[in-house]
Symmetry: C2
Subunit: 335 residues, 2 copies
């Protein structure tokens, strides 16, 4: 099923069930008012939502209305956890190669992950406000899952059972703040402002065969100022699958219902063509494009985003329908 | 006023108002059921709680009962943000001196801060479970504040107005996981398991003159296995006050109601006595004790905590009464 959160003036919005084709929606009133409630009590509440979803898809839901992504907050407008991995090792390799820094051996055996702020997410069509374009504004197209309860010491396989929903994320990053911040050794902080999520979060069955043991073989499109710059396959080159990412958190603590876990920038390897490398699938963040330029030409040519720039992130199923709806944001100056 | 969250089998517990002397309590039923609700709508709800608090202190509340810290969850059993600073630069200096690493200049001008997990806090009297004592189990006695909404780009002075409550924190740390983790450059993650908080969170007026522009001049006692090891003054040596810590987060994002911001390990400088340094106030985490031992004797002598060890953290007001109640936890093995 597909779930979204409609604006209603409150901090957590109002839960709606959305039809498979994203054409119609229905308030989940009488079942649950907020998505977090559903995650807190999944086995009891989700079957009731599933029934409503079925009626909606069959055109039989009584108070259905036209679904409007502009009414959407993030599916979880705020969450108790946002932990973001860097699961596509190709991205990390490119960035490191560009700055001539070796890959630490453990990068191949355990995932990189940072704890993100989760008190103030951006809606899918909400402008992204930043104090200064000189901070190096960059989008990052990612997949993210929402979990149920996953106990401490769960294995990656056990953790897979804890996945409830999948959505798209735009993990906004301020590149020019990162190096100073990482030099302080405490990790990302100011360099990771509020993250945005897709209009709709979906259950795993909606992905059909594209979902395979923690990886989703779907193409995530990134369109920057109207130009399609990324068409990256999220599946086969995901070095650490979502079960591994969740289990990484579980090593020393419980993961509780409503935790959001991100894949990191989706990234695909180059193909060899006439002895040359070609990144035919493009990129899911500007930092990767700049790394490639640096590797090829000694310096980056593509600038980061400016105020007024737009980014659209979307994934389509095999039938050509949008799976999660699109994230579509403009970069703006924060007064 | 003083607020706590009683266990009721739910994830967020039940809000209670606690008397100033921590002797009696009263359910906030009819006003608010959860602390997060109060923080979401502080100016409307908090005066009602304040009225109840006054009746309770005067012995006039009808359904008052004996307050039992064993019934307490963390005041916020889960939160939308837990951002922990390292505001006592003396602690950072000692740790760096022990490993002969220089203090970066910006450590004196902007706070160190990491984003912590906030989906699964420990109650004040809850055992702290860890998979392995070899991880280097350590307590950290800290102060923490809970905020209202503080907009992006707020100044430290503006941020001070956003502080709603103060409490104690035990920021459990797994020291032997830290160096590998920081070497990966993404910051703390597995080395920071679930944090515990004091039974009671209090408003700033409860601190009286001890609260001065973002610093609380109170003594925080740490008692390890029945031995008092720390009697640290939380006030005057706090290099960055809470307004500065909150403003650090606000540089690139909004801070939303219910965010918890920690001070980092409370730490006091040595005094000079007969040409020798003496750390008369003791320590608020074992890592600092080991750093001092290393500076004096070339190597640490005090081991980290073992399964079965206990830690008690408490702060008393000038009248000798406990301000927040005590955190009192046992270290246990997680199966």
């Amino acid at each position: 099923m597909k779930l979204a959160t409609y604006k209603d003036g409150s901090r957590d919005g109002q839960l709606v069930v959305v039809s498979r084709d994203l054409e119609t929606a229905h308030y989940a009133t009488g079942i649950a008012s907020k998505l977090q409630q559903v995650l807190d009590d999944w086995s009891f509440i989700s079957p009731q939502l599933q029934d409503l979803y079925q009626s909606l898809n069959q055109g039989k839901a009584r108070h259905a209305f036209t679904f409007d992504p502009a009414m959407c907050m993030a599916p979880l407008p705020r969450a108790y956890q946002w932990a973001d991995g860097s699961a596509y090792i190709n991205h990390v390799e490119l960035v490191r190669l560009a700055r001539h820094s070796e890959m630490p051996a453990n990068y191949y055996t355990e995932p990189l992950m940072y704890q993100g702020g989760s008190d103030d997410f951006l809606g899918p069509l909400q402008d992204a406000p930043f104090p200064d374009a000189a901070f190096g504004i960059d989008f990052e197209a990612e997949l993210a899952v929402v979990t149920g309860d996953v106990p401490m010491r769960s294995s990656p396989e056990q953790a897979l059972d804890g996945i409830r929903l999948v959505m798209l994320a735009n993990d906004w990053s301020l590149r020019n703040l990162i190096s100073d911040e990482l030099a302080k050794s405490f990790g990302f902080f100011q360099s990771k402002p509020a993250t945005a999520f897709s209009p709709v979060a979906i259950t795993l069955d909606e992905l059909g065969e594209a979902w395979d043991k923690g990886r989703a073989s779907i193409t995530v499109q990134s369109t920057w100022n109207g130009r399609k710059v990324g068409m990256c396959d999220a599946g086969k080159e995901m070095t650490f699958h979502f079960g591994q990412l969740i289990a990484h958190i579980c090593k020393t603590r419980n993961v509780r219902a409503g935790s959001i876990v991100g894949s990191g920038t989706i990234s695909n390897r180059a193909i060899e063509k006439d002895g040359k490398k070609e990144w035919v699938n493009g990129y899911s963040c500007i930092a990767e494009k700049r790394a490639i330029e640096t590797i090829l030409d000694g310096k980056p040519a593509t600038a980061y985003m400016q105020f007024g720039d737009s980014i659209r992130i979307e994934a389509k199923g095999k039938d050509g329908h949008s799976l999660f709806g699109a994230i579509e944001q403009k970069v703006m100056a924060q007064a």
